[in-house]
Every structure is written in C-alpha cells, then in structure tokens.
C-alpha cells in the first residue's frame, strides 16, 4: 500500500479508562450502540421466530397438543392445544416483533449506527447522547411489548396492522391492557426511531470526511440516509395514530369507532401512510448493504452507481404515494384505486434498475463466493420473486382475489425474510470482524446459507399456492373450511419445513456465539474491501480515527488498472490524486 491518510485512533485506546458501565452499557460510542442493537434485536428475532413456530403448529396440526405446549398457561393453551384467543395474539405479536423489533432495528439500529460514522470517516455520530437515548427507548419499547404477552387478558389481538374498530374497543377485542401496551410500545419505538433518524441525517450531511463527497458515499450509506428520511417522516404519523388509538381505548375518545361517529378507515389510511414507507425502511438498507457486498464479491466497480443512488431516491419518493394499494378492498373509489395501482407498478422500475445493476456488477466479475456474497446473491434472487409477486397484488383486479390470503403472506416473507433477512445474515458475517475482531466460520456459514435457502423456499413458496386457493390469512383452523380441506397436506408440509427452517438457524446462532470466543482472528481488512472502516484495527477504537482520514475516490474501485492488488481503498492516495479541498477548510 502507498500512503494511507488517516491513522487509526490508537492514541485514544491508551487513555480510554472509562469504567465498564460507561464503555459497554451506557455507552455513547456509535459502535457499541450498534452492537447493543444487534444483540437486542437478535433476541427479538428469536422471540418472533418462536411465535411463528406456534402459528405453524396450529396450522399444520390443528387442535393437537403442541410439544412443550403444556408449559403455557391454561389461558393460552390448555393441555397444549392452542386456543383461538391465543392464536390471534400469536399472529399479531409475530408480525409486530418481526417488523418493529427485529428487522427494523437490525437494519437501521445496528447498521446505521455502526456503519455511518465508520464509512464516512467521522469520529462518532453528531449527537452521541441522543443516540444512546434512542437505543434505550427502543429497548424499553421492546420490553413493554414483550410484557404484554404476560398480562392477564393477553397481548394485542387485532393483527400487526391493528385495524380499528377491533383494536379501538376493548369490549370487542377482549384485551384491554394488552392493546394499550401495544400502543405505548409503538409510541416509544417511534420516539426511538425519530431520535435515531435525526442523528443519522445530521451526521451524513455534516460529518463526512474531507473528500467524501455525496457521490463518493457507499451505497449502504446512501440507502441508510434515505431510510432515515423515510423513518423521520413516517414514524411520527404512526405515533400520532397510536396516540389516538390509545386515547380511544383509555379516555373515551371516538377517533376510530364508527358507532360514535369516528372512522375506522381513518386508521387504515394513517397506518398505511406510515406503513408503506415502512416497508422501504425494511428493504432499502438491505439493498444498500447488498450492493457493497456484491461489488466486493465480484471484484468490480458497482454497475451504474449513479442510477443506483437515484433508484433508491425514486423508490423512497414513490413509497409515499402508494399506500392505498393495501386498501383496495376497503371500498375505495375505483378511480383512486387505479391511481394507486399505477403508482405502485411504477416502483417496479427503480427496483428493476437495482436488480439489473446487481447482475451487471456480477457479470464477468472475478467472483468470490464468500458467505456474505452468497447471502447477497440469495437476496437478489429471493427479492426478485417477492418483487414479482408484489406486481400481482398491485393489480387491483388480482388483489380482489388474493387480498388477505396466504399469497400476501408469501409475498411479505419473500421480501422480508428472503430479502431483508438474507441481506442481514450476509451483513452480520461481513462486518462481524470489525465489530468483534474475529471471523465467523466460513464452512458452517455456507452450510447455514444452503439449508436456510432450501427450507425457506419449501416453507414460503407453497404459500403462494395456498393463497391462490383462497386460504385466508390469520385463520385459526383451516380444516374448518371444506374448500381448504384438499390443501391441508400442503399446510402440513409447510409446517414441517418451517420447523426445519427454524432448527437450522441454530447453526447461525452457534456460529455467531462460538466465533465470539473461538473465531479466527481477523486481519484489518479480511474481505479486501475499499471502505474506510477497514483502515481501522479490530475492533475499531473509541473515537475511530485519531486524525480524520482523507478520501480520494468512490467506494467501488476494484481491479483498478493502476494497482497491483485488485482493490483500492477510498483513503489510499495514488500519485496524481488531488488533495480534497475541505481538508484545510477548518483547523484541527
């Protein structure tokens, strides 16, 4: 390597004598906060998975005692048989935990915190204390949500979308406190997201290292930046709606109760006005990190960097004007429905641009199929399936048939599990060495990838068929319906696949935990990546760089003709590279 500007902050580590509790518990260091988010949201991912297993038991083996079900109290599963009242809590809480407390914090809480300052060459976030508050608010929200499973009447029962009036009237749902705790947790989570977002936005705008111009930012940072804008503007709408819902339940307001003049549809509009940007919050960071990993694994510059950036912005903008496609059967004016249909289909364009650019990046690349790359490619494949089924349901006439069926369930799992979660498995493996200084095991990582890919498709692909057959979402016992009886073997098959899918995640969990202590020590740049974070030792010290790094080029200069190695870090100065103008603008 020739000159690398920006020396790691080893000087800081010498006198880093903060007590343990300030260093690892109430830390304001963005890296520690990211790792805290990682552990907490992986825990909630496990909770969500356990809830899903119970759902699958009931659907595959209706009214049979669940193994271990006797551990549950009488009010949930007497003699191990899941009650309908408990089943509806299961689907509600599975969706809530996975969307709000697993995938969203895994993508945004973990990687926005960990990556933004590291990839931009900043010493920390703009507001470290607000950042810490954001984590603790999220943890508190998660614990409140978790506690609602243990209150006497049980957790919320109106589905993760919490449609009114069922959610608004305790006399209808039969769960007063559980519904209220759901609202309180969501309001707290909204606060956490807003605090996080304003931090990410400020940091990206104002704290880029000299030379890190807008179009030299890695696509992961672009995606996280745009995601932060979506979160900043969407979450307060959900908070407002949740506050109105909470007031309906507690102080007798009538926002969503048609019996007293309120409007149940108002809830749907508010929820989905938040909810559709939310689905892009759940996928854009994954797309960004996949772009980084695919360029790295292909040893080629990303294909169409600028079009990737504008596709992210385009998806985010269109995300605001499509929410009505969740409500085609709510009795909306067909003209309005057609409008929403058209805007929704337009989103396929920037999404397709991204897909073709990923393929174009891999095309004739010098492919390295390391574990993150495999997950990234898996992401692209699964996202295409999820994206295409999305176009089916965007068409109003088709949606009339498949609305609220397992087709929708299949779609969301193809984009959230096949998409976001595959990207996350890749991202966790990719940045693990920078977080913990060790590598996760490559062989077990590949075993985990292939088994997950297999059982994931066996679980979710047949759901398309169930949905086309009219299998309703959230039903307790499919054998109660004559027209679904021929499909019960398929349900049986899906459930067994789902149990196996859950079981093979143990490989990932064990790989993650054992590698913390026994994993091979990682070098400074184990993936030979160009990002600024790889110029720091493992794990990166508090304060990151003692001296702010200089950036000379974009993040995807792989196989550059002027270098002997096939990568060229952003901070490596080649002869003839001009010094960034901002470097001397302010004194140190």
């Amino acid at each position: 390597m020739t000159t690398v500007a920006g020396t790691p902050g080893v000087g800081h580590t010498h006198h880093d004598d903060r007590p343990f509790i300030r260093k690892y518990i109430f830390s304001t260091d963005h890296k520690i906060i990211g790792i805290q988010f990682l552990f907490v949201s992986l825990f909630f991912l496990l909770v969500g998975g356990l809830l899903a297993m119970q759902i699958r038991w009931q659907l595959g083996f209706p009214n049979q005692p669940m193994p271990g079900g006797k551990l549950l109290p009488e009010t949930m599963a007497p003699d191990g048989v899941i009650l309908p009242e408990y089943y509806i809590q299961l689907v509600t809480m599975h969706g809530t935990f996975m969307v709000f407390f697993a995938i969203m914090p895994l993508l945004v809480g973990v990687y926005a915190n960990f990556l933004i300052p590291l990839k931009l060459g900043a010493h920390d976030m703009a507001f470290p204390r607000i950042n810490m508050a954001s984590f603790w608010a999220a943890l508190l929200a998660g614990l409140v949500m978790l506690s609602s499973l243990f209150v006497p009447e049980g957790a919320a029962r109106a589905g993760w979308t919490m449609y009114a009036p069922l959610s608004a009237r305790p006399d209808l749902s039969g769960a007063g406190l559980g519904q209220q705790l759901w609202c309180v947790a969501i309001i707290l989570l909204g606060l956490s997201s807003i605090l996080g977002s304003l931090n990410y936005i400020t940091t990206v705008i104002n704290m880029r290292a000299p030379g890190m111009t807008w179009f030299r930012m890695p696509l992961s940072i672009w995606a996280l930046f745009i995601t932060a804008i979506l979160g900043l503007l969407a979450l307060p709408v959900l908070s407002g709606a949740a506050i109105m819902l909470l007031f309906d339940q507690t102080i007798g307001t009538h926002f969503f109760d048609p019996a007293a003049g309120g409007q149940a549809l108002l809830w749907q509009h508010l929820f989905w006005f938040f909810g559709h940007p939310e689905v892009y919050i759940l996928i854009l960071p994954a797309m960004g990190m996949v772009s980084d990993m695919i360029a790295n694994g292909s040893r080629k510059p990303i294909f169409g960097y600028h079009s990737m950036v504008f596709a992210i912005i385009g998806i985010a903008f269109l995300g605001w004007i499509v929410w009505g496609h969740h409500m085609f059967v709510s009795g909306m004016n067909p003209t309005l429905g057609s409008t929403f249909m058209v805007t929704t289909m337009i989103i396929a364009v920037p999404s397709a641009i991204k897909t073709f650019n990923w393929l174009g990046t891999m095309w004739r690349g010098n492919l390295r199929f390391h574990v993150p790359m495999m997950h990234a490619v898996g992401f692209v494949a699964m996202f295409v399936i999820g994206g295409l089924s999305g176009i089916f349901m965007a068409a109003t006439p088709v949606d009339m048939h498949i609305h609220d069926t397992y087709f929708i369930v299949a779609h969301i799992h193809y984009v959230l599990f096949g998409g976001s979660l595959f990207a996350l498995f890749g991202a966790i493996t990719f940045w693990y060495p920078k977080m913990f200084g060790r590598l996760m095991h490559e062989g077990w990582g590949k075993v985990h990838f292939w088994l997950t890919m297999l059982f994931y498709n066996l679980t979710f692909f047949p759901m398309h068929i169930l949905g086309m057959a009219g299998h309703m979402r959230r039903i307790y016992d499919p054998t109660m319906y004559d027209f679904l009886k021929p499909y019960q073997p398929l349900n049986h098959f899906i459930s067994i696949s789902a149990f196996l899918l859950f079981a093979v995640q143990a490989i990932f969990a064990l790989n993650f935990i054992i590698s913390l202590f026994r994993g091979a020590k990682a070098s400074m740049n184990p993936w030979q990546d160009n990002g600024l974070e790889w110029t720091l030792p493992n794990p990166a010290p508090h304060g990151n760089w003692a001296e702010v790094p200089r950036v000379y080029r974009g993040p995807y200069e792989y196989s550059h003709p002027d270098t002997t190695e096939d990568f060229l870090p952003q901070s490596q100065k080649l002869p003839g590279d001009p010094e960034p103008a901002a470097a001397s603008a302010a004194g140190h």
Binding site: F127, S197, A209, A234, V237, F247, G261, Q263, P580
Partner: protein, 223 residues
C-alpha cells in the same frame, strides 16, 4: 451571522461541506420536520373527522371561550417576539438584554400553559370532556334543549383535547427546556457573541410551536 461566528458553532475537525448549519441547528430543523408530520397526522384526522361528522359541528364560541384563547394566542406570539429579541441581543453580544428577553419568553410561555390549564378546567367543569359531554352537565342541558348540536360532540371533544393537549405538551417541554437553559447557560453568561447556538436552536423550536398554535387556533377556535 459572519463566517467567523458560524465556524465557532462547528465541530473542530475538517469535514466535507454540508449545509453550512452547525450540527445542533441542522438536527433541530430535521427534528421539526418530523414534528410537522406528527401534527399533520393529528390535524389531518381532525379535518377528515369534521367533514365526515354525522351531524352539524358545534359553531365557534358555543363550547369554547374564544376571547380567553385569543388573549392566550397573543401571549404566545409575544413570546416569539421576545425570543427573537433575545437572539438578536446575544448576536450583538449583549448579555443583559439576553437575560431580560429570555426571561420574558419563559414567562409568556408559562402563562400560556397556565391559561390553557385554566381553560381545560373550565371546559371540564361545564361538561366538555374528551368523549363528548358529561351527563347532567351544563352543556348536556344545552344539547337537550337543542341549542347545541349533539351528534358530533364526541368527535369534537376527541379532536379538541388531542390536538390542543399535544400542543400544550410541546409548549410545556419548551418552557422546561428554556428554564433549564436559563439557569445553566444564560444566567452564568455562557453564551457569547461567538457561541449562542443554544439560543438559536431553542428559538427554532419555540417559533415552530408558536406557528402550530396559530394554525390550531384558526381551525379549532375560529372556523
């Protein structure tokens, strides 16, 4: 603001050019964008519910005491003026005037909260509650003898208390923050002509809260 002042409110390390606003100021603008969306949700719900209400909406002045709240609105606008004066004073480096105008802002803001609390107590006493009208109250009698349209009063109470309540909550947060800044920064003289970011940032928040009130006063009390 001259460039020398602006630099004083920037972090002491080189960075690529951002938006030429120091971090806390930019952060506050970003935060206010999310606040706009929060109030949009509440106000949007109000507009939709009012236009879709099952019966006639109660006319201005029949339930709410408009003159008292008009006075309160005047107080809040005055506090915005005094906030600008406080900002201008410290931009000129005048500590004494900063202390005076900052205190005036706090007093006006606290008075606003006080008057609103009085208004709430009075309304509840008359029988106006978030769920509509209380049985056997003064307003319930007006509904019974037909002088007050009763069908939409439930929505009226829901939207009135939620919107004005959350605005009041924001004012209260602002007053508490200002008292904190007054005691820890303004009185000890920690703001200088080179570094007065705190005054500017709390000022942004304060003007936003004021602006929201002007909208709320118009759509809730006047039309």
């Amino acid at each position: 603001m001259t460039t020398a002042d602006a630099r004083a409110m920037q972090p002491p390390f080189p960075a690529e050019r951002g938006v030429d606003a120091y971090n806390t100021k930019l952060g506050m603008w970003v935060f206010l964008a999310s606040e706009v969306m929060f109030f949009t949700a509440l106000i949007g719900a109000y507009i939709i519910l009012r236009f879709g209400a099952p019966g006639e909406w109660a006319r201005p002045g029949t339930v709410l005491n408009v003159p008292v709240t008009a006075f309160n609105t005047f107080l809040l606008i005055c506090s915005s003026v005094s906030m600008v004066k406080a900002y201008a004073s410290i931009a000129d480096g005048n500590q004494k005037l900063l202390k005076f105008w900052f205190l005036v802002t706090i007093i006006c803001g606290a008075s606003f909260v006080g008057v609103q609390a009085y208004e709430y107590l009075h309304l509840i006493h008359r029988g106006f509650v978030p769920s509509g009208v209380r049985d056997g109250s003064e307003l319930a009698e007006l509904v019974a003898n037909g002088t007050l349209p009763g069908a939409s009063l439930g929505l009226y109470g829901s939207t009135f208390y939620t919107m004005t309540g959350f605005h009041g909550f924001h004012v209260t947060c602002g007053v508490i923050s200002m008292i904190y800044l007054y005691l820890t920064k303004v009185l000890p003289g920690k703001y200088t002509q080179q570094n007065y970011g705190g005054v500017e940032v709390i000022g942004l928040y304060w003007h936003f809260v004021d602006l929201v009130w002007i909208i709320l006063f118009t759509i809730v009390y006047l039309i």
